[in-house]
Subunit: 339 residues, 2 copies
């Protein structure tokens, strides 16, 4: 099994929650990890967990951290000893197979783009977000924010990336690939999208199921939904906002209610918790950055141990699947590539 480089200094709860999460992945699934960051802070946490002698746990010292408020590109070039920079070096050298990156999304994308490098034939990486569905499955939305203004080629390549990801990592034999649009008819939408539709219909590598509207992203109409990074990011963040609003209004209703509401809420709490667990990003761990050489999973800044453990598992699955070679071959073979 390939080792996973975990940026132990990234995110709001670093290094504690990051280290605990990575160690949980070691215990649960025997995934070998390299904890990258300030050794003086990380070593005691590993010791406390009684895992200092584990052959599956390594430490790699890095003295600096790229903060959430720094310009990602500039900080990446200047801080050679930042934990995320060191993570990229470990993958580049072949020591690790993938990175788990909580903290600055911009720094993580920079690490993927410049530290690991693009897959030949791919101009832009894409952030792919796995979304829970009512049927228990998962739909991958990409790009969810890496490229705000991509060319047609990049949108099309997102389909290739999503296809192989769902096939190899989620074991779906023939993933349904959809195109995010504002109507189901072929002629709908903006030029970028109508052109993408035409090209996607022409290819035979993956199963194109046509346009998917925003309201059908979560219904299972497609396993992969392709879009530009501006739309994908706006859509996902609004979904977060809606879920939060519903939660707030419900809590208010209970708080302002009488004994009836309070008793009802107490009785219904397990079902409510079960529901929240199913739409909780922590269950899905993180969003992989695709289109780069080697794996990289971006985690929410607020990630705690459970999210980090699941992200480490996802990173390991990506490292084992060796997606880069497959997508490179497909694009070199003419599917949405230059020739």
């Amino acid at each position: 099994m390939k080792k996973i480089a975990v940026d132990a200094m990234g995110g709001d709860y670093a290094p504690e929650e990051i280290v605990y999460g990575a160690l949980q992945a070691v215990k649960n699934w025997q995934i070998p990890v390299i904890l990258v960051g300030d050794s003086e802070r990380i070593a005691p946490l590993v010791d406390e967990a009684g895992m200092t002698d584990s052959p599956l746990v390594e430490l790699h010292h890095a003295a600096e951290v790229i903060g959430m408020d720094e310009h990602p590109g500039m900080a990446y070039r200047k801080k050679k000893d930042a934990s995320i920079v060191q993570c990229a070096k470990l993958v580049k050298a072949g020591t690790a197979g993938a990175i788990v990156a909580p903290g600055s999304t911009g720094a993580a994308v920079t690490a993927g783009l410049f530290g690991l490098g693009r897959i030949p034939g791919f101009k832009r990486p894409a952030i792919a977000t796995p979304l829970p569905r009512a049927d228990g499955g998962v739909t991958l939305l990409l790009d969810s924010g890496a490229s705000a203004d991509p060319e047609l080629e990049s949108v099309l390549q997102n389909a290739v990336l999503g296809h192989f990801f769902m096939k190899e990592v989620y074991d779906i034999s023939e993933p349904k690939i959809g195109l995010l649009n504002i109507g189901t008819e072929e002629i709908k939408g903006k030029p970028l999208v109508t052109q993408a539709f035409a090209a996607m219909r022409e290819q035979s590598l993956y199963r194109f199921v046509g346009n998917v509207e925003g309201r059908d992203i979560l219904t299972g109409q497609a396993d992969v939904v392709v879009c530009d990074g501006f739309t994908g990011n706006a859509v996902l963040k609004f979904g977060e906002g809606v879920a939060k609003l519903i939660g707030t209004l419900l809590k208010e209703g209970i708080r302002n209610g009488g004994l009836r509401e309070k008793l009802g809420a107490w009785l219904l709490a397990p079902a409510l918790r079960g529901m929240l667990r199913r739409v909780d990003y922590a269950e899905y761990g993180g969003a992989p950055l695709l289109g780069i050489q080697g794996g990289l999973v971006i985690c929410h800044g607020a990630s705690k141990r459970k999210a980090i453990a699941n992200a480490t598992k996802l990173a390991s699955a990506i490292a084992e699947a060796d997606l880069s070679a497959r997508v490179q071959a497909a694009v070199a073979g003419g599917v949405h590539g230059d020739e």
Copy 2:
């Protein structure tokens, strides 16, 4: 009070629910209405409601209907006697002040664009959707789908449209205008958005509060959120999908649960219903089409009487506010206009 032309033949529940809704607006708020459509089907419904002799209710016969599956532009030109075409004629002639349009959104936009005509200086109309917030207020998102690929000028004009709409119709003295983006920093996003940011910061007609991320659309950071129609439509429909998913998962949890969950759900039902009422589009009636001469409110195809009554109320408020003149003056005065 200006009369409101209601397309009684549009939507899934026409003409019954549309007529009942319009008559409810007459009873509740003394709004004069013209029911446009097949008189033979509409007259008995008015009679049944005992309102045949009401001076506030008129019938206007229209023999045809534009269906949801027809090409809106072509159908609009061909079917001169379609109910929505006749509605536009009534406003154009000054007989009515605004339209309530359930049914095909495409036909409604066409009616606004060609039947009523654009406001001089405005290239593209925008669909403005009022969204409920946790604080009890409303945020207007526009464009939510009229122009999938607008030029910069149209995005900027959406700010002017939203400003006057919230000021005049929702009585907010100085509405906060935000720009939908994928980060809060000035340099974030695609060129269309960074250019819009620069121009919005320069003007002094309205209160620009900067970039708003998807997750903050519902928090009250802004009263108006401006975007292109592709992003707006995708965002709104995904929000619908998220709300539906949460509802489905909760119902499942209750159905698969035992006595505890069922009793809890029964006790909590009033609070749950209260919450749903606050995020229910029917409460808000519909989405106005702005940037055109005269008022037009687009309703969801699944609208029932309550949504239609509220849409009629909104249409009346728009007709009384005379928005067209105000936005035309602002644009002619140089705010996001040609000169």
